[in-house]
């Protein structure tokens, strides 16, 4: 794991987020916030006929860690089967980020996963 939280790719995702925006026809959506810092993520997903993620977008405000995490997560799940998305764990998020998040910032890193899980909960 990389020591530096603010590696090039984290900053890239923070400054130029992937899949930013809203999906008006989303079949699943959720909004979660981190009460300790006020960071917020709203996630929109639409599924295709075979239960694959057809499209995903997010609208968020927050720190580099929370926003890079959700930006990467949307890349990670786009086009993937729902079963695989449902199985994502905290460890997958940490591997995806590739940085040593540390206990103080874990909540920021996991806000993306928390929002995803709560969107999926609507269905399951």
């Amino acid at each position: 794991m990389e020591e530096n939280l603010y590696m090039e790719n984290i900053l890239d995702h923070y400054k130029h987020p992937h899949n930013a925006g809203r999906l008006e026809d989303a079949s699943l959506r959720a909004r979660e916030l981190n009460p300790s810092c006020g960071d917020v993520i709203e996630l929109f997903l639409s599924l295709d006929a075979c239960d694959r993620v057809r499209d995903v977008k997010f609208d968020g405000k927050g720190c580099a860690v929370s926003q890079a995490s959700v930006s990467m997560l949307t890349d990670r799940i786009k086009g993937r089967p729902l079963a695989e998305v449902l199985a994502l764990s905290e460890r997958d998020i940490l591997e995806m980020l590739g940085i040593d998040v540390g206990p103080m910032r874990m909540k920021c890193a996991m806000l993306s996963l928390r929002t995803l899980k709560s969107a999926l909960n609507e269905k399951h």
Binding site: C37, G38, G62, C63, V65
Partner: protein, 403 residues
Amino acid sequence: MKLPHDIQKDFPSLHAMGMRAYLDSAASSLTPVSVLEAMNDYYQNFRSNVHRGMYKTAGEATERYEAVRGIVAKFLNASAPEEIVFTKGTTEALNLLATSLGRTFGPGDEVVLTEMEHHANLVPWQEAAKRHGFVLKYIPITKAYRLDMDAARALITPKTKAVSIAHASNALGTVNPAKELAALAHAIGALFILDAAQSVPHMKVDVRDLDCDFLAFSGHKTYGPTGVGVLYGKKALLEKMEPAQYGGDMIREVKYEASTWNDAPMKFEAGTPNIAGVIGLGAAISYLETIGMDAVEAHDRDLTAYALEKLPAVPGVKIIGPEAGERIGAISFEVAGAHPHDLATIFDREGVAVRGGHHCAMPLMGKLGVTGTCRASFGIYNGKEDVDALVEAIQAARATLKL
């Protein structure tokens, strides 16, 4: 008046925490050795409950506990020790007021707060308002981060039952015109309540000069221990007020059918109190009185002026709070392009501890259009070198975040 030049030696945690600059005293201040010793003395030498036992140490514990009422009363220039109620902090004190006073308000009544309140002086009132049907009004802030006093004059009306405001804002550093607001409240017969969590640690606070009816502050922000705080109330008002919590110690007579209450302040202290905490708070106040609140205030003003000169000189830095003058050394700022949490994390690596976030003032952050700010706040052990360390840390953060 000046603080002792070797004041840092009284604060062993300053060294033990291994930081370059502790700039988060508004969240919690560090504790001088004399406070630790006073609490240790209780646990080692007269560890008993108060107001109960007939043996010697119980008597000593009660005496030492009750003596702190006198120390706090003198510190605040209250009229009598009976005007001091011990709580677990500002939050509990304000909850007590909202619960107890709230029951006497109803539909058609109004309670006036400000837009810069800490959640502790907002959520308890919201809940009480919901239950009893009264309405909350908020005095707005101006672009200069001060209360809009014209709006205040319009909002405080014969419907107003209480005006409850932060004496000093933890999020902005603003010191509010308490005397003027007290006069406005009293002119229409409303109660005036001060949340003094951030003012008491930084300046001389005189309840009779301010003419507040109630005032709350926390031990842990005033160089004392955690888990203890004070509610000051004018004696006649405390006597009339109903308790908010029930149980042991707060009663006069209990029967199966009904009970009657002890006198104030005891009727507000249900259950075994934080005895060590109260004794520690007494030691903290004695410590502050020895070094002198004039010196404390002058030191805070000097450091604040220095920081308000140095910080805005760093590219991208914007101060979220008033200019020097009526303000305390709790300085909120933004760095363009950087989130406060990222800044706080990078500062930490530079050995600089600040708070990043909404400072328990979410509605204010919304109004200011930010998710949060970074806040550097000073204690009596801080010096200009700590501000310099912060400036270097901001520069380091700008480099890390490629701003």
